[in-house]
C-alpha cells in the first residue's frame, strides 16, 4: 500500500477549487519541472517507483486513475482520496480479524447504495450558467468556461465540437453549418473556386458507395442515370477511383451541363465506411452501394440518388447541408444511436457513436485555443478537452452539488444501513463507507486551508441545501453558490475509488518477476528476491 499512498498523496493536493500545484521533474530533458494540478496527468507521469513492492501498489491505482481520466476527463483526485480512506480503514478492520472476502462483498453492496443516493440527488443541467460552472470546476479558466457554456447551450450534449490549436493568443470559436467528413476531392481539377480551393453545388444529387471503381465503364451507368433524371450536379462517393475513371468524370464535368465532384468514402475499414454509408443515406436519402454485398452501379436508378440542398468539397473535407432524407428516419436513427451510446461501456465505441450522432445533428462547432507559447497552447488545449468531456457528461447525465457535498448527502442512507446491520463485516463495511464519502469534502476543505472537522460540523448545522464555498470560506445556500460537479464524474470517481479499494483489500499475495528489466531504476534491497 505504500506505493498507492505515495501516488495518492501526490494527487491529493490537487482536489478542489483551491488546488496546490504538483511539480514533476522532467526525465527526458533538462527543462524546468512540469507544474500540474490534474490528478490524472500526475498519475500518468509516474512511471515507476524504486521499491518494487510499492511500485505494484502504485501501478494498481495508477491504472484506475488513468482509465477514469480517459473515460470522464476528471475525478481522479476524488477517486484517489476515496480509495485511500476505504483501503486504509479496510486494512485496519481485516487486521482486527474480519474476513476480507465477506467485507468486500458488503462493500460492493454499499457502493450500490452510494451510487443510488448520488443518482437521487442528480438534477439536469438546464442553464448555460450551470454548464459554465461545471467547466470551471474542471479547468479553473473563466474565459474558457464561459465559452464552453455558450457553445454547449447551442450544440447540445451530443453536438460535435472540435478543439484545435490556434496561432492566435486567445480563444476563438466558430459554428459550421451542416455535416462534414474528413475526405477531400479526389482530383484538384474538380475545384471550381480556385481562389478558395473549394467547390460548391446547390440541389445536388449524391451517390453513396464504398465501391472500388477500376474501369470508366463502371461509373457510366451513374452518369447516364443522372442525365436521364436531369440531375445537373452530382457528388460521387467511392472508396477508390482509377485514373481512367477520374478522367471520365473530369471529361463530363462541365458546369454548364453537369457539375461532378468525387470524394473517397470516409472512414477507415469496412466497419467505419458502413457506418458512414448508413448515416449518409439516412441524412440525404438514396441507397448505399456496398462492395461486400456485391453491389455495382449497373442497376442504378433515379431513386438510388441521395439529395442535399448544398454540397461543398475542398481538398481535405467535404460537407452536406440540408440533406433531403426522411426526417422521421433521421430522428429514429439518432434515437437508436443515442440508446446505444447510453448502454455501451466500450469507450472506443462510445466515442464513435458520439461522433456519428454529432454529425447527424446538422452542425458543428470549432474551438480554437491559442496562447503565448507552444507548451501553453498544448496545456490549454488539453484542459479544454477535459472540460469539454465534463460539460458533455453533465449534459448527458446531469449535475450534482459540488465541493464533495453530494457524497456527504449519501451519509443518511449509509447510516440507516449501518443501524440495520448485524454481521460484523457488514457493520464494518458501512462504517468504512461513511468515512470514505466524507473524505473528498475533508480534503477540499483542508486544501483550501480550513479545518475539515469544524467546517463539517458547521455544514451539518446549516442543514441540507447548503454548501461550503472553498473560495470564500463561507457556508452558503446551494442556489446562491451554484457550485456543481458533473454527475457522471462524481459517480464514476466514487465507483472507481470504492470498488478498487474493495478489490485491493482481498489481495493477499504479490508476485513479481525475478529479473527486472534492464532499464529499471536502481534496485532497492531485495528487489531481486522472489516472493
Amino acid at each position: 500500500m505504500a506505493g498507492a499512498d505515495i501516488l495518492i498523496n501526490a494527487i491529493r493536493p490537487t482536489l478542489g477549487p483551491v488546488p496546490r500545484i504538483v511539480a514533476i521533474d522532467r526525465t527526458l530533458d533538462h527543462c524546468s519541472p512540469e507544474l500540474l494540478d490534474s490528478g490524472g496527468t500526475i498519475a500518468k507521469r509516474v512511471i515507476q517507483l524504486p521499491d518494487y513492492r510499492a511500485d505494484m501498489g502504485a501501478m494498481f491505482v495508477r491504472d484506475m486513475f488513468w482509465r477514469l481520466q480517459d473515460q470522464e476527463g476528471d475525478g481522479t483526485a476524488t477517486a484517489a482520496v476515496i480509495f485511500q480512506a476505504t483501503f486504509n480503514e479496510g486494512v485496519r478492520m481485516i487486521t482486527a480479524g474480519l474476513n476480507a472476502r465477506r467485507l468486500q462483498g458488503f462493500l460492493e453492496e454499499g457502493i450500490q447504495v452510494v451510487i443510488e443516493e448520488l443518482r437521487r440527488q442528480t438534477q439536469p443541467a438546464t442553464t448555460s450558467s450551470q454548464l459554465v460552472q461545471v467547466a470551471y470546476t474542471v479547468c479553473q479558466d473563466r474565459e474558457l468556461s464561459e465559452l464552453l457554456g455558450e457553445i454547449f447551450s447551442i450544440i447540445g450534449s451530443y453536438g460535435r465540437l472540435e478543439v484545435r490549436e490556434d496561432a492566435g493568443r486567445g480563444l476563438r470559436h466558430e459554428y459550421v453549418e451542416g455535416t462534414y467528413w474528413e475526405r477531400g476531392l479526389i482530383s484538384q481539377h474538380m475545384v471550381a473556386d480556385v481562389k478558395r480551393m473549394r467547390s460548391e453545388m446547390e440541389d445536388a444529387a449524391i451517390v453513396f458507395s464504398d465501391l472500388r471503381i477500376r474501369h470508366p465503364q463502371d461509373i457510366l451507368p451513374v452518369l447516364i442515370a443522372a442525365v436521364k433524371a436531369n440531375y445537373r450536379r452530382l457528388l460521387l462517393i467511392a472508396d477508390e477511383l482509377s485514373d481512367s475513371a477520374i478522367s471520365l468524370l473530369l471529361a463530363n464535368n462541365k458546369p454548364a451541363h453537369m457539375q461532378i465532384l468525387a470524394v473517397k468514402t470516409p472512414g477507415y475499414g469496412p466497419e467505419q465506411q458502413a457506418a458512414f454509408l448508413e448515416d449518409g443515406t439516412i441524412l440525404c436519402g438514396g441507397r448505399a452501394f456496398v462492395r461486400s454485398a456485391g453491389d455495382t452501379f449497373a442497376s442504378i436508378r433515379k431513386e438510388d440518388f441521395g439529395h442535399a440542398r448544398r454540397v461543398w468539397a475542398d481538398l481535405h473535407n467535404f460537407g452536406v447541408i440540408g440533406g433531403k432524407g426522411d426526417a422521421r428516419w433521421r430522428r429514429r436513427h439518432v434515437a437508436t444511436l443515442r440508446a446505444l451510446h447510453t448502454e455501451t461501456g466500450d469507450l472506443v465505441l462510445r466515442d464513435k457513436l458520439q461522433d456519428r450522432i454529432g454529425r447527424l445533428l446538422g452542425g458543428s462547432a470549432t474551438l480554437r485555443v491559442g496562447g503565448a507559447s507552444t507548451p501553453e497552447i498544448k496545456a490549454r488545449k488539453e484542459l479544454a478537452e477535459r472540460a469539454v468531456k465534463a460539460v458533455r457528461g453533465a449534459l448527458q447525465e446531469g449535475i450534482l452539488p459540488g465541493g464533495g457535498v453530494a457524497l456527504l448527502g449519501c451519509r443518511p442512507a449509509l447510516q440507516a444501513r449501518l443501524d440495520a446491520a448485524c454481521i460484523p463485516e457488514e457493520r464494518a463495511a458501512y462504517r468504512i463507507l461513511l468515512n470514505a464519502v466524507t473524505e473528498p469534502f475533508r480534503t477540499i476543505v483542508a486544501n483550501a486551508g480550513y479545518s475539515p472537522s469544524a467546517i463539517l460540523v458547521a455544514l451539518d448545522y446549516a442543514g441540507p441545501g447548503h454548501i461550503f464555498d472553498a473560495l470564500s470560506g463561507n457556508i452558503v445556500p446551494m442556489e446562491t453558490a451554484a457550485i456543481y460537479d458533473p454527475a457522471n464524474i462524481v459517480k464514476a470517481a466514487a465507483y472507481a475509488g470504492l470498488s478498487s479499494a474493495a478489490l485491493a483489500l482481498t489481495i493477499d499475495v504479490l508476485v513479481h518477476r525475478t529479473e527486472q528489466p534492464s532499464h529499471a531504476l536502481p534496485p532497492s534491497p531485495g528487489r531481486r528476491k522472489q516472493l
Binding site: T126, S128, S153, I154, I155, G156, G159, Y175, E177, E202, D203, R309, R310, I321, G322, K324, A327, R328, R330, R331, R332, V334, L360, L361, G362, G363
Partner: protein, 328 residues
C-alpha cells in the same frame, strides 16, 4: 386590385369578403395596435397588400418597387413596436423585405442560395433591444437574423427536421430565449434563442404540425397548443415536455391557425381555424363550438384583429385568393 363586398349576416357570424385576386393567400398579419391604427397585411401569390382601415380597402404594399409582375410573398409579420418603428417584414423568393415606414419603401435582405421557401416569420417580443427575427422554411430549417433583418443565417443545431411549418416565440422570450417550431415530423424547442434545438416528445406519427400557439401566460402555465394536419389538436402543459390530444376536438381537417387571446389565463378562449371551419372553445379546449353558420372552403391562414370578449374579429385567407373579414 379587385375589392368586393359580399356580406353574409347570420345569427352569430358576420363574414365579409373584403379582397380578391391574391391567387392564393399564404399569410395574414395585423398590426399589434390594430384597434387604434387598423393596419393589416395580406401576403400571397399575387403580392403583398396592406390595409389601413381595418381591412376595408387594400393597396399594393410593394408599389414603390415598381415591379412588372406581382412579387410572390409567403409570409408577413409586424414589429411588436410597430406603432413607433413602423417596421414590417415580408418574405419573397430569395429574400426578406423589410420596411421601416409601414410599407412605403422596402429594403431587401438576400437569403442563402438556393432560395428557401419561407413559411413563417416571427419577430422577437424584445425586438426593440435584441433585433431578432426568425424565418421558418420548408427545406432549410430556421433562418435567424440578429441585426433587424439585414442579414440572415441558418441555425439548425439539433433540428433534425428542416421542413418547418410553424413558429412560436415565448411571450417571455427576452428572459427565457425560448421558441418552438412545428415540423413535418413533430415539434422542436430552442432555449438558446433559436440557435440550438431539442426534440420534444410530440408523437411523430401525429405530425406534421401546421400551427402553434403559446399561452400568453406561458411562463407560469407552460401551455402550448399544436394544430396538426390530420391528427387534431394537441396540448402540452409542461412547456412541451409531454403532449396529449385535446379530447374535445372532433373537427376533421388540418388546423391551419390557432389564436389565443391576451387574456387567456382569465378567459381561456381558443380559436382554431381549419380549412373549412372556424372552431371556438371558451373553456381551454374542453369543448368546441364550430361556426356552422358560415360556409368556408380553402382557408389557408388567419390573423386576429381583436379577440376581446364579446367582440372577436379575425381575417381569413383562402386558397382562391380571397380575404374574409369575420366577426364572431
Amino acid at each position: 386590385m379587385k375589392t368586393s363586398s359580399v356580406t353574409l349576416l347570420t345569427k352569430h357570424v358576420l363574414t365579409e369578403r373584403v379582397m380578391d385576386g391574391l391567387e392564393s393567400v399564404h399569410a395574414l398579419a395585423a398590426s399589434p395596435g390594430f384597434s387604434q391604427d387598423g393596419v393589416c397585411c395580406a401576403a400571397g401569390t399575387g403580392g403583398l397588400y396592406l390595409s389601413c382601415d381595418g381591412g376595408r380597402s387594400w393597396q399594393d404594399a410593394c408599389a414603390s418597387l415598381a415591379l412588372a409582375s406581382p412579387l410572390v410573398t409567403t409570409a408577413v409579420v409586424f414589429s411588436p413596436d410597430f406603432a413607433h418603428d413602423r417596421t414590417l417584414f415580408a418574405s419573397v423568393p430569395g429574400g426578406v423585405l423589410r420596411s421601416h415606414d409601414a410599407g412605403t419603401t422596402w429594403h431587401v435582405a438576400p437569403l442563402s442560395s438556393p432560395p428557401p421557401f419561407v413559411t413563417a416569420l416571427a419577430v422577437s417580443p424584445n425586438y426593440a433591444k435584441d433585433g431578432l427575427i426568425f424565418a421558418a422554411t420548408l427545406e432549410d430549417g430556421i433562418l435567424r437574423s440578429c441585426d433587424r433583418g439585414a442579414t440572415w443565417a441558418a441555425w439548425n443545431f439539433g433540428l433534425l427536421d428542416f421542413h418547418v411549418y410553424a413558429l412560436a416565440l415565448s411571450p417571455n422570450f427576452a428572459h427565457d430565449d425560448t421558441l418552438y417550431v412545428g415540423c413535418e415530423s413533430g415539434i422542436f424547442r430552442s432555449s438558446s434563442s433559436g440557435r440550438g434545438w431539442q426534440e420534444t416528445a410530440f408523437p411523430m406519427d401525429c405530425a406534421p404540425v401546421l400551427s402553434l400557439a403559446l399561452s400568453p401566460d406561458f411562463t407560469t402555465d407552460g401551455v402550448i397548443f399544436a394544430g396538426t394536419e390530420a391528427s387534431g389538436l394537441w396540448i402540452s402543459s409542461d412547456r412541451g415536455v409531454t403532449w396529449r390530444a385535446v379530447s374535445g376536438w372532433e373537427t376533421p381537417g388540418p388546423i391551419n391557425a390557432l389564436i389565443l387571446p391576451p387574456t387567456f389565463a382569465q378567459q381561456p378562449w381558443i380559436l382554431a381555424v381549419t380549412d373549412t371551419a372556424l372552431c371556438l372553445s371558451r373553456d381551454g379546449g374542453m369543448s368546441w363550438q364550430v361556426q356552422h353558420s358560415i360556409k368556408l372552403t380553402g382557408i389557408t391562414c388567419a390573423a386576429a384583429l381583436s379577440i376581446d370578449q364579446p367582440n372577436i374579429q379575425v381575417i381569413l385567407g383562402t386558397s382562391d385568393g380571397g380575404v374574409l373579414l369575420c366577426k364572431l
